[in-house]
Symmetry: C2
Subunit: 474 residues, 2 copies
């Protein structure tokens, strides 16, 4: 009979017993398939309670050191090859640095939301209210297309501000447009050929390609993507941003919109993905009607995001499916859970429903108009008329700066990067690798630090003239 010295036991008795038996199994003292005493017998023998033995046995069985045969008893497992798991010291340091907030880089290449521009206090208020009043919904609502309250709020918003008449059931909410692209690929089928705008946002292509999708390109002209090239590409799906093309900023006129709808209608299975990513910040005039709103044949899949209007870090986007695709989505993909937390879905729903979103957008629009104006003034002061040209389109959070320089686009980018300035050339957004230099650069202005703008512009000016000494202060 097994005997252990319980005077040495520290901590819970069952853990001590577990440890002793495990050691005996590991050392071979207790051999493979050896019968163990019954719980009651061992307890009696060791002068401990049956519960203690039971707990130790449970643990040993759970970890595979022992096994039980009903009505027969307990046996030692075959543990050949087992090794002890050494529990290492607590992690004290991480090998990674804290997230690079890019404080030391002057970045013209990205937009984020500045702390003063996110509605933190309202957001906190709504979040708290929901956590107090909507506990059941927050914990149980697993609607796969997103919570109904949010989809209703979005539908009403689209009706009021984009003239789109859509039902909440056509809307699918997801954690970022990237994720929605992937759902769409599954919905439309992997055999489809996608056509992207050239130049364009390269990440879209990366995502399609990482899903083994065949990608083609159609060039942009002054009215947006060329429908002729689109037709020649042989594509089934056109992925475009007609309201505000990135990076050119072109807004597709209505006539071209009808041409592209006509293209989609010519053949079954053709669709247009309308990426309306920053339509809220069309700064002049009334917004252009989206393709979706003039599509009578269910050919347009509309996509939008709260990345530009709230913050990219919140990861909430949505798409509007034509009725028949929406039905197909329910059939084929309803087993996918919605990827956005209900906590934030309900908060955003209230944010839109109670008019805070509209107020926020209006405030931001005003802010961006002023900021844009101010950035343009700084550029005009810094550069002479013949040194640079601004290609401004009416909408969105960026414009294009054409620089009078002999430097190659890539060289200018690199030299600026050495000087802690990130400026991206338009040519980076073309699909051809042997692209001719255009000396045009994208200027995202929404999150520029105005205090350091002059300095950054002067460095650009010096570098474009081949002066290597200037450098931005870190």
């Amino acid at each position: 009979m097994l005997t252990y010295d319980f005077t040495k036991a520290t901590g819970a008795l069952y853990k001590y017993l577990y440890k002793c038996i495990k050691e005996d199994i590991n050392s071979g003292k207790l051999g493979k398939n050896e019968k163990m005493p019954s719980k009651r017998t061992l307890a009696k023998n060791l002068g401990i309670s049956t519960i203690t033995v039971e707990n130790a046995y449970d643990q040993l069985i759970g970890e595979g050191y022992m096994y039980a045969i009903t009505k027969k008893g307990y046996y030692v497992s075959d543990i050949s090859g087992i090794m002890e798991i050494a529990i290492p010291e607590k992690l004290t340091e991480s090998e990674e640095k804290l997230p690079d907030i890019k404080k030391d880089i002057y970045d013209f290449s990205s937009n984020y939301t500045e702390p003063d521009n996110f509605p933190f206090s309202v957001w906190t208020k709504l979040m708290r209210e929901n956590m107090a009043e909507k506990k059941q919904e927050l914990l149980k609502d697993l609607s796969n297309r997103g919570v109904l309250l949010l989809r209703e709020a979005i539908a009403n918003y689209l009706l009021s501000f984009r003239g789109m008449n859509v039902k909440p059931s056509q809307i699918v909410v997801g954690a970022g447009t990237e994720y929605l692209y992937e759902l769409l690929i599954k919905l439309l089928g992997k055999d489809k050929i996608y056509c992207m705008e050239n130049p364009g946002y390269k990440k879209i292509t990366q995502i399609y390609k990482s899903n083994d999708i065949e990608c083609r390109y159609a060039n942009m002209d002054e009215n947006g993507v060329s429908v002729e090239e689109l037709a020649l590409s042989g594509a089934d799906i056109a992925h475009i941003s007609p309201t505000h093309h990135f990076p050119t900023g072109i807004t597709m006129p209505v006539s071209r919109r009808y041409e592209i709808l006509a293209w989609a209608n010519k053949k079954e299975g053709r669709y247009i993905i309308e990426d309306d990513y920053d339509s809220e910040f069309r700064l002049n005039g009334r917004p252009v009607p989206p393709l979706q709103s003039i599509d009578a044949c269910g050919k347009v899949i509309y996509m939008n995001t709260f990345s530009k209007s709230l913050t990219p870090t919140i990861r909430i986007s949505y798409m509007v499916l034509p009725k028949h695709l929406s039905d197909e989505f329910n059939e084929k993909l309803s087993f996918y859970s919605c990827t956005v937390s209900t906590f934030e879905q309900y908060t955003l729903a209230e944010f839109i429903k109670r008019g805070y979103f509209e107020k926020h957008i209006n405030r931001m629009r005003l802010y961006y108009v002023r900021k844009r104006h101010s950035v343009l003034e700084h550029i005009n002061e810094c550069f002479d008329k013949n040194e640079c040209r601004i290609i401004e389109n009416d909408s969105g959070l960026h414009f294009i700066l054409e620089l009078e320089t002999d430097l190659r686009d890539k060289d200018l980018e690199d030299k600026l990067s050495d000087r802690h300035i990130r400026l991206q050339a338009l040519t980076d957004f073309y699909q051809m690798s042997d692209m001719e230099d255009k000396h045009r650069f994208i200027l995202n202005y929404s999150s520029l630090d105005m205090e350091r703008l002059d300095e950054a512009l002067h460095v650009i000016k010096a570098v474009m003239h081949g002066n290597p000494c200037s450098r931005i202060r870190k």
Copy 2:
């Protein structure tokens, strides 16, 4: 020269002018390619400011009704086929019903978190603190694998509670395990063959299949998935849940764990996905060491979720990649944005870091032990010994109820469903369609309404004996 009657104008002048010109273009009064007056001329003629004309022209150009030729002027576009967009009434009613919280169904088939069991007050507190103190991070931290603070907190948690020594850089945070499966498919390659446990959680297969992955199955024996069948399946990847298999509840013993690691080591490109989905709720003894912690060759991809430990509606899961796969992930997939909001990532990070998670788990473990005990008592009171048998495994939030009945599994499910009771047969989780009836049913107890449990059990008892009249009170 164009003339409009501005005495009728309501609202902004430019909008009125825009509307007038658009009407004239639509009616054909202004023809295709007709030259428009310059802004200055039209302004002078109408007695309005140039800015007003400019705004109206901008809008018309933006919408495609007009186009500009540099140094020549403004022209009317070809708008053949254009149609007016009617802005419909505000949506007042939705065609969908409010989310079905399933109040009227007594559901043994799912687990959710009950409102009293979610740490709302701490969560609100941490969320508010972050929104006050971490504004910059919340709006700018776009780390693609998830925010570092959360990954560090997870790494420390895994070290303390699962004996796993992993670096934060090996962790990838995502919006639900489903999403992480999809990332893994991209990382490991679509040509890989996946093997799932039979019986098993069918959604996993659905997800793999919707990604065009070849799926095979290996049967479970009393120690978990059969390694022999796994080897015979020809699969490259084994997707298993060794700590607590769903639905059988089996915990894989250490000896089997080594066998499966040996299988993975026999051939390059083989991996094990260890789905540790409810290891926090192993209710007896110390937790079993995860496969990941005894894997010396980088063959195990560990997955876990906060769905069981917090709530499924929060959509936060994570995986731990072996070092070389982690490097490959950075190379191949770092362009994907993290799908979880920074707001919730930072909140969860603080929740874990400050010890709240541990306390919460301990509290829930105690709660579930008691609840499980109470549910078992009710079953024992309601049923005679020869009417049902409980197959309990030590861990997790469900057990199995074997009923002594002549009814076929499907029939019993249907009859109960007619009586507003959802109970799922074990046979539903098998891959074969011609499965023999087992009269075994899954009993998820974590969110059962105890007040109505007796009633529900009596309905089950009556139905299994062929009594058709009993029905649960709605």
